[in-house]
Symmetry: C2
DNA sequence: GCGACTTTGTTCCTGCGTTCACAAGCGGCT
DNA sequence: AGCCGCTTGTGAACGCAGGAACAAAGTCGC
């Protein structure tokens, strides 16, 4: 592999040597991984960038560029060895280790996520559950029992939880977040519709389900040219 | 991760004024809306771009530019009138109408989403539920009863469903998607970890929960400089 | 073994989105 | 009434991501 030219991020004292892989590419790599494992199950051992790109819904040039960040694991004239590619994408994404997950807030959504097979299947075993509700404490759920949120720091540290999933209502989310951070958790997936304040060394990804719908709503209105009550939108009239 | 699978802007008669609002801005507007309504509940009537940007976790210049797409509803030297801003963002996003939702696949996740209060609270009432399982058909759930997937086209058309939420396993997702499209649904929120094939006039947003974790995992590895088993990550990637 | 074909990996370029910076505008204060 | 300070809205620059095109490289057929 030729040396990439993306090194130069002298953003201060501690040059961050990482940063070579764009965030958007990382997100797509997770998709490729999914498609590839699915293909391997069907016995596919080799794929061209064109085919894989089609299955993943991206441009083939984009795909090749993304994969170039992983390394040169393709064979010209043939394509990519699916098994080897999966292996190397997993290594880049840090999936060689199983990251254990804690789910906080065992309501409808938390319950569903605690049982979501896609997590353990992808190497993310759920190893801790927390809630505030006394009635839930101790209740067994998928081989685990629910602990009180107060024990988050201790339990997370003990079980080496690396990812916390917050499914609490908004008012509790920041408190829970602080507890997770106290327990050494540096990755948080936040389903509560609010922006969490965290230290610089903690990363939060927010999944805002209602916002997703609002975005869909916007595009729908755009497509139809109506505001949904049969009335044509006049953008100029609207803005004054 | 939310993947925007198609940004098609069909060549309509009135495509001149549209396309002004970037996709990324629309996504952020939904966040601003959330912060604003929360602030209004606390009695805040006026906010500066600086404060609002801080609460939403974005740059203030970005925020002002986003809001400029909505219209000029700020007062220089003062800030934005929160109520008026909410009103106008909602209008831009097409939220003046309540879009009704159908949830397909009443497993753990589908069950949780069917009961998710954030949907109706934000003007997205759930008006139809579907599953394949005979044991679930007719079961009442939050004021609705579960219908068979075969009836998707008829029921969606009748109840004017505008958004379909797919929570089925992967093998069923494409079939369900086709049924939704047949029922006139043009917006789909897909929780099944696969890429759906749809006509150009249908928009799909994908929420891939496991991919979110993989992205977190990647950044975690980057931060620590180890792959989680105490071993330094590939020095080539590190050195550039 | 050699040529032609296929596909990768990379380079260049274009376009978009974000950020900076500043002029215009509005309210408050004297 | 006029000035001052604060905040918006926007024009310009910058940086990054995505797409087209191409050269290198490896395979398959003959």
């Amino acid at each position: 592999m030729t040396v990439h030219e993306h090194g130069r991020y002298s953003t201060g004292i501690q040059d961050l040597p990482y940063r070579a892989v764009p965030d958007a590419a990382v997100a797509r790599l997770a998709v490729y991984l999914r498609v590839l494992t699915s293909m391997i199950e069907q016995g596919v051992t080799t794929m061209s960038s064109e085919v894989l790109a089609g299955a993943a819904g991206v441009n083939s040039a984009t795909l090749r560029k993304d994969l170039s960040h992983v390394g040169s694991y393709g064979t010209r004239g043939v394509g990519y060895d699916t098994a080897r590619l999966v292996e190397n994408i997993e290594r880049l994404l840090g999936l060689t280790r199983h990251h254990s997950i804690a789910v906080v807030g065992i309501g409808n959504l938390g319950h569903a996520l605690a049982n979501y097979p896609g997590f353990p299947d992808r190497g993310f075993p759920v190893t801790a559950l927390f809630d505030l509700d006394e009635d839930l404490i101790g209740v067994p759920l998928g081989g685990l029992s629910v602990d009180h949120v107060d024990s988050i720091p201790a339990v997370c540290a003990e079980r080496e939880v690396t990812i916390g999933v917050i499914c609490t209502p908004v008012p509790a989310a920041q408190v829970v977040c602080d507890l997770l951070v106290a327990g050494g958790v540096q990755c948080i997936l936040n389903f509560a519709p609010m922006v969490l304040q965290v230290p610089d060394d903690v990363e939060v990804r927010r999944v805002d389900l209602a916002a997703e719908l609002q975005i869909l709503s916007f595009h729908q209105v755009r497509r139809c040219g109506t505001n949904g009550v049969g009335q044509v939108v006049d953008p100029i009239a609207v803005s004054r």
